[in-house]
Amino acid sequence: MDDITLGLALAGLLLLIGMQRMQVGQTAFPWFAAGLAVAVLAPLTLGGGENQLMLLAALGLGVALALILGLAASMADLAARLALLHGLTGAATALVASLALIERLLEPGLPLGLACLAILLGAFSAAGAAVTHARLANLLPQVWRHISQAGAGILLLAATLGLGVILALGLREGPAWLLLFLSLAAASGLTFTLPLAEREAPLAASLFGSLSGLALALLGTALDLPPLVATGILSAGLTLLLSLHLSHSVQLPLRRLLWGAPPAESEEVPHPAHPLGAEGVAERLRAAREVLLIPGFGCIAAGACSELIELGRHLEARGSRVRLLAHPLAGRLPGQLPLLLREAGAPAEWLIECWPQDADTPEMTLTVGAHDLINPELARPGLPDLRRASSQGHEVILLMKSLAGFSGSINPLLAQPHVHLWQEDARAGLERLNELLRQG
């Protein structure tokens, strides 16, 4: 084993220690930082080469870009940033494999074939992750769906694979063929991702992370760098299992990502029994001694977390007991919402992650953009049974922008007694409510 492989193995080991510390709830950051530092310093000091100045310039620009991507965003942007970073790792792997092809470092056959597969997976996930980032960052509101999308994607992917085989066997070579191969792989990624809506984007981004990991492992095998194989497969396996877990939790099958979402069936929207306005909500909240606040995906999408915390403070100042249910499935990514609420200043004593199954709900519950989360038909664990709360005479107010929610499904709570619908944008509604509570 040469010195560079040893250095990379040390970097991989430090990253693994960091992950093990995460698993047991200990501080992991210093281990990850040390792993990344060794991963940079080992090839930089032991690798040599003639392009050191160019290397340092690329590293400097990379650090600057990382600072922008890591710091110039709130926790609400986590899913979008994660998609972008997954895309960057995919692009990086595809570019390294392309470099190996351009410099003719690999023999035709298996090594070149593995590098071509790494290019395909890397470029595919980079293009797909770029679309999911744009979707999550609201840069791409239009969803392109067509009945031929899946078929066209498969044809494109088959053509890319065919060209990959030609390149791997050394039948064709040169920059023009490589660029065509990269373009076809990226076009395949776009074809499969453009039909995905915002709700499907976090899961797709997670899957692209898995593909990037697999591409890294293939690259490591082609370049004879075993630590890259280990970290690539570990990342691919871990991300794939987490994606499957998430897909199961949000009841969004992975096949829906591949074949596109079926057109939403037009369900009959139940006429809301008790519509309310901000004034009516303020009146009820003033009288409540105990309030449970349940924010959902819509609250994050509207950027209304700070307004929600402000509402809690108004209620607390009036003597009400406030609890804030930060359910793991409420954010775009599981576990995002508690972080977002803490960043927005939510006191620790308000926060609950899961509602105890047998506990009664308080006399007043206000849900904010949580249409799908609180849907009793979906029976998600860790959430209060609001149908039972309503039947016990407890009041439930649903602040929601649309009666169909992100999933397009209808919430049967709307037809329940003691359930009031407040149809309004989460941020605008909470701002108005806070204004009313400030006035008295």
Binding site: G62, L219, L234, A348
Partner: protein, 98 residues
């Protein structure tokens, strides 16, 4: 690299990934997705090695892009990990323990 050795490493890494994934709470998944990004950023040392010796114009361009993208992804993920860990360590939030 010998294909048998690569498959053995891959199998062991996949088993480790599975062992971890089975113990991850739903509420901690976001942190683990960021940690997996750190692993993917191991393309950075390969990019540095290959760019160092690149001679062709297009090769230099690809290597420059690869170092830029992988360093941005690796350090970007590290910054997010730090931010998330800091918020998780604040009183009141459940950690990934158990």
């Amino acid at each position: 690299m010998d294909l048998g050795a690569a498959l053995t490493i891959a199998l062991l890494a996949a088993l480790l990934g599975q062992a971890w994934a089975l113990r991850i709470r739903l509420g901690a998944q976001a942190s683990w997705l960021v940690a997996a990004l750190m692993l993917n950023a191991m393309s950075l040392p390969a990019a540095i090695l290959l760019l160092g010796d690149a001679r062709e114009g297009l090769g230099l361009l690809a290597g420059f892009g690869a170092v830029l993208a992988s360093s941005a992804a690796g350090l970007g993920a590290l910054i997010w990990l730090r931010r998330m860990e800091r918020l998780q360590k604040m009183e009141g939030l459940p950690t990934d323990h158990g």
